[in-house]
């Protein structure tokens, strides 16, 4: 039973139309957007690994080589299991530097256009047989199903359809940052189709041909040689070689690299693929032995490569055979589409652009777009040429394995990229050339010989026979020994260029190297002008705008560190367009670095910190400890309750901590890299001015902030940059501490004000009491006088009234004098000390706060001092009040004044609990008090100390715990004229 060729052609055409529809619907957002971003969609898209080789060829390979077909998937499983140390680092580098192909990656790592050219050419050469294999699988499947030999026209139509698909859905965007979601979903759809169909055919083989598992077991029991043939090759020589080859192919084949890294929408999807992809491969291969045995049981007389079709044709429903054909078509078309897109990008970046760079007057974006489209067509047609030119004597698997050995030649270079910084460009190119030569002799030459292109097989079968190894094992061993050996040996003998070293560090996970150098161009506009010379005005504007947007940078940015970052971002973005090496050359040539300018480590601090933040999860061992230490130090600086500002050797700000942000209201981010004199006012004057002074400290510096005065203490110190590897120590930078005193001063003033209010309150109460008594007396006397006629009594009453009013006048005079003192603090006079003593005792008594305390004052009237009477009275009030506060009810407080030499000595003694030794130093400090909260401000004693000091006197404490305290005040007696002048100027 067969199908008409036209029916098959129509079915294939409808299927490919459906594929177009799926891609188109995704691109137009007709399908939910999360479908494209789903990890399983990503996993299925990587399933492009399984081509018609898997779909058809595995059964054919199993028929001759048993379980050897599994090696192709066990090796791939190994690559995915090792994803954290293999695929994820490659994905990181690819995304960071916008590398879209293996050629990009290796050209970037080895800073070599030659490496890119060589990889691309070899990839083209190695992949052509593989594309030819897919076309052949489709045409042969048509032949099997229709029993007709299809003309090359059908193959040509198939190729043309795939070219159309690749052009429409594989080149929608030219920047790698924009992914081809339609392509990804379409390829995932193809993987799903081939998986489902293969499982259906496996199910048919099991239940349709064998009648269930029991039937299969019975057949296997009757044919023990089937199991024996399956297991025999496991321990033979090509087994491990094929595992190794497929391990490399799983991520190095152009289509694999493209779907794994270039079209990856989310890095987390790759982590899901570590198990989901092996699971997909397992399901795909589960049916293979059953289909093979079903073919054997049915006694199919066709090539076992096509048992998948044969068993459905023999006895199955016709729709199943049609579906089987669609499954094979999907496997082949997916491979050709993705491979051609990947190779087109590679060829454009590494062959076409370096060979014929377009005129800057042309639109570069359009040129690249059409270049890729043209190359997709050329590559698929070249594959068609291989298909037509090669004789079909090899099995599908053999053609595929030739490509596998080819891509394995990139493994040493990848290993060097990931884990060997010492690897050099010359070493890589030498190794690759060696590997290509051996591959050409061992793999390509026999293929061309068998196709009649070459007239000799160069004795390869003889050499392989002499080795005693299987040809795949021998080819793998020979190519990689030559390749790897040359790679290591030449790398050891040659030196890396600085560019190579920089790229090697960038590829290494632990690398967080700073950006060296200063760009000569001074603004983004200058970047545009310079780049336009090569890229054209439109492209240059587009790239600079894109890079500015990527970095969130202002268009008028002028900071050198930021411009250095902008330059690097432009190079990365151009790398996605033109390939890393061409982008590197253009940026180096157009945006030159100033050879005179030096870069301090501090200049790159922000960059280094950003890199450390983003790659923290990749740090290992001591690096993690060092990073923790760095974070701790940085956090300490950030959380310091003092403003911290550090500048580098060129006066540019490298640190502006949180306290300083809050103090100044200026954010750190836009400041980093600017000079202090570019700060907004008034901070520019304060900090830039202080940085220029010779003094390391400035105390209580007044600054008008928002129209209000504020006070700051400033401190600064020089620091030296750590010595950068191989560089001389640079000039020192500077660190400044800024302490805001304004709040402290305000608090002091408020407390003093509260203290004054409390004093006034107490005084007012005392005054009311004192004046109240005589007023009551006067009122009583006045009442009595109304009815009194006796002149003597009237006169006596009047005398008493006058006496009471005098008493009131005395009280008021005392108060007046005290208040005048507050307004005339700087006035001095010569007065008898006992007057101040009387004032103080009188005032204290007026408050009635210490009514239970006896105040005994002894003051000779001839002791005269010069000074501010009110201030000294206040001191005595404070000291007497303290003594009274420390006393118990009934205690006595003595105040003795005496003259000794040219000094007056005032002693105030109480019988209180005394002052402990450890507190005697601190009681003079402002705001220190031992009294309960709200009863003392802690200012009295410190103010008294200050006043006595202003009068050139001393104040000392002599105290014994439990016995009492004696406060001794020494004041100069009436001073000479010169001393008076000195005081007056104080």
């Amino acid at each position: 039973m067969g199908h008409e060729l036209a029916t098959l052609f129509a079915a294939g055409f409808v299927y490919l139309l459906l594929l177009f529809l799926v891609a188109y619907a995704t691109d137009r957002d007709w399908l939910p957007s999360h479908w494209a971003a789903h990890p399983l969609t990503y996993t299925l898209s990587i399933g492009v690994y399984a081509t018609s080789w898997t779909y058809y060829g595995s059964v054919g390979y199993a028929s001759v080589n048993g379980l050897l077909f599994l090696t192709i998937y066990i090796g791939a499983t190994l690559a995915f299991v090792l994803s954290p140390v293999l695929l994820q680092p490659i994905l990181r580098v690819s995304r960071d530097y916008q590398l879209t192909s293996l050629a990009d990656l290796l050209a970037f790592r080895y800073r070599s256009q030659a490496a890119g050219v060589l990889v691309t050419l070899f990839m083209l050469l190695g992949t052509m047989p593989y594309i030819a294999l897919q076309i052949r699988a489709v045409t042969e499947s048509l032949q099997v199903l229709s029993n007709e030999v299809p003309s090359n026209t059908i193959a040509l139509v198939f190729c043309a359809t795939l070219i159309l698909f690749g052009v429409l859905f594989g080149t929608r965007h030219i920047s790698p940052r924009e992914k081809h979601r339609g392509l990804v979903v379409a390829i995932a759809f193809e993987s799903l189709i081939k998986l489902v169909v293969l499982l259906l055919i496996g199910g048919y083989a099991l239940f349709g041909v064998f009648g269930g598992t029991r039937g299969l077991e019975d057949w296997l029991a009757a044919n023990p040689q089937a199991i024996e043939a399956l297991y025999r090759p496991v321990t033979e020589s090509p087994w491990s070689a094929l595992v190794f080859l497929s391990f490399a192919a799983a991520f190095l084949l152009p289509r694999q690299f493209h779907m794994l890294f270039a079209e990856n929408l989310d890095a987390r999807s790759l982590r899901t693929a570590t198990w989901a992809m092996p699971a997909f491969l397992l399901l795909l291969n589960l049916s293979i032995p059953v289909i093979l045995w079903a073919g054997r049981k049915l006694g199919l007389g066709i090539n076992p490569d096509y048992f998948v079709l044969g068993i459905t044709l023999a006895d199955g429903p016709s729709w199943l055979s049609l579906l089987a054909f669609i499954g094979g078509l999907s496997a082949a078309s997916a491979m050709v589409i993705v491979t051609s897109i990947a190779l087109a990008t590679m060829s454009l970046n590494h062959l076409l652009l370096p060979a014929s760079y377009p005129d800057p007057a042309m639109n570069l974006y359009r040129w690249i777009l059409w270049g890729r489209r043209l190359l997709i067509g050329l590559i698929i047609m070249a594959g068609y040429g291989f298909y037509v030119g090669l004789k079909h004597s090899q099995s599908l698997v053999e053609l595929g394995l030739i490509s596998f050995v080819a891509v394995a030649q990139f493994l040493p270079g990848i290993a060097g990229m990931l884990y060997w910084r010492r690897a050099t460009r010359v070493g890589f190119v030498s190794g690759l050339l060696g590997g290509i030569c051996v591959w050409s002799v061992l793999m390509l030459a026999p293929l061309l010989y068998s196709s009649g292109v070459l007239i000799t097989d160069m004795g390869v079968p003889h050499i392989v026979a002499l080795s005693g190894m299987h040809k795949w094992a021998f080819a793998t061993f020979a190519t990689l020994t030559v390749n790897g050996g040359l790679f290591v040996l030449v790398s050891m003998l040659t030196r890396q260029s600085p560019g190579e070293l920089e790229a090697a560090n960038a590829c290494c996970a632990e690398s967080t190297g700073p950006l060296a150098g200063v760009v000569a161009a001074g603004s983004p506009d200058e970047f545009r002008t310079l780049l336009a010379g090569t890229l054209g005005r439109e492209t240059a504007d587009g790239e600079v705008d894109q890079a500015l947007a990527d970095l969130g940078m202002r268009p008028n940015e002028r900071r050198t560190t930021e411009l250095r970052r902008l330059r690097e971002r432009i190079e990365r973005n151009l790398s996605g367009l033109l390939g890393p090496q061409l982008a590197h050359i253009i940026v180096n040539r157009r945006l030159e670095l100033d050879p005179e300018a030096k870069t301090a480590l501090a200049d790159s601090m922000r960059y280094v910190e950003e890199r450390l933040e983003t790659s923290r999860s990749q740090l290992r061992g001591l690096s993690v400890e060092l990073d923790n230490l760095r974070r701790l130090h940085r956090q300490i600086l950030q959380d310091l309750p003092l403003g911290v500002c550090a500048t580098d050797s060129q006066g540019k700000i490298v640190l502006w901590n949180l306290a300083l942000e809050m103090m100044t209201g200026v954010d750190a981010a836009p400041l980093i890299g600017t000079r202090l004199d570019r700060l907004p006012p008034p901070w520019d004057g304060l900090l830039a001015g202080f940085s220029r002074t010779a003094e390391d400290h400035a105390y209580r510096t007044e600054l008008a902030v928002a129209g209000r005065p504020r006070w700051y203490n400033l401190h600064k110190a020089a620091y030296a940059d750590p010595v950068v590897e191989g560089a001389l120590p640079s000039r020192p930078g500077m660190v400044m501490l800024i302490e805001d005193l304004t709040d402290l001063g305000t608090l002091e003033a408020e407390l003093a004000h509260n203290d004054r209010l409390a004093s006034v309150g107490r005084l007012a109460a005392g005054v009311a009491h004192e004046i109240g008594n005589p007023v009551t007396g006067i009122a009583s006397l006045a009442q009595n006088l109304r009815h009194e006629d006796d002149p003597d009594v009237v006169r006596q009453s009047i005398e008493e009234i006058i006496g009471q009013t005098r008493r009131i006048s005395d009280i008021l005079r005392t108060l007046k004098g005290f208040s005048r003192g507050s307004r005339h603090l700087q006035q001095r006079e010569t007065f008898a000390l006992c007057e101040a003593v009387d004032d103080a005792v009188h005032l204290l008594r007026l408050t009635h706060k210490h009514d239970g305390i006896r105040f005994e004052a002894s003051c000779p009237g001839d002791i005269v001092v010069t000074g501010n009477r009110q201030q000294l009275s206040q001191v005595l009030v404070n000291l007497l009040a303290n003594a009274a506060d420390a006393s118990r009810t009934g205690d006595r407080v003595d105040l003795l004044v005496r003259a000794a030499g040219d000094e007056a000595i005032i002693e105030i003694m109480d019988q209180g609990q005394g002052i402990p030794e450890e507190l005697r130093e601190t009681i003079f400090e402002p705001f220190y008090t031992t009294k309960p909260t709200g009863q003392g401000t802690g200012l009295g004693l410190s103010l008294s100390y200050k006043i006595i000091e202003d009068h050139n006197g001393t104040l000392a404490i002599d105290s014994q715990v439990g016995l009492g305290t004696r406060v001794i005040v020494n004041l100069p007696l009436r001073a000479a004229e010169s001393a008076n002048e000195s005081f007056a100027h104080h």
């Binding site: 499983t77 090792l82 297991y231 397992l282």
Partner: protein
């Protein structure tokens, strides 16, 4: 300060890779590749490795790394 994250996921991945090599590319393969064994034995071993990868993936996810 957070304690340094120990990259156990990477190490488990390498251990799993070594296990795969041990099962499929070592003399151990000679043990299961005998006619007496069920033809699905290599698939079962393969599934074992996949389950190991699932375990590592879930562990990494729960770490939030």
């Amino acid at each position: 300060m957070l304690p340094p994250r120990f990259p156990l996921g990477r190490e488990l991945a390498v251990i799993l890779g070594v296990l795969l090599l041990l099962l499929f590319v070592s003399p151990v393969a000679g043990w299961w590749a005998t006619p007496g064994m069920n033809w699905m034995t290599p698939y079962a071993l393969w599934l074992l490795v996949i389950l190991g990868a699932v375990f590592i993936h879930r562990r990494d996810d729960s770490d939030g790394s």
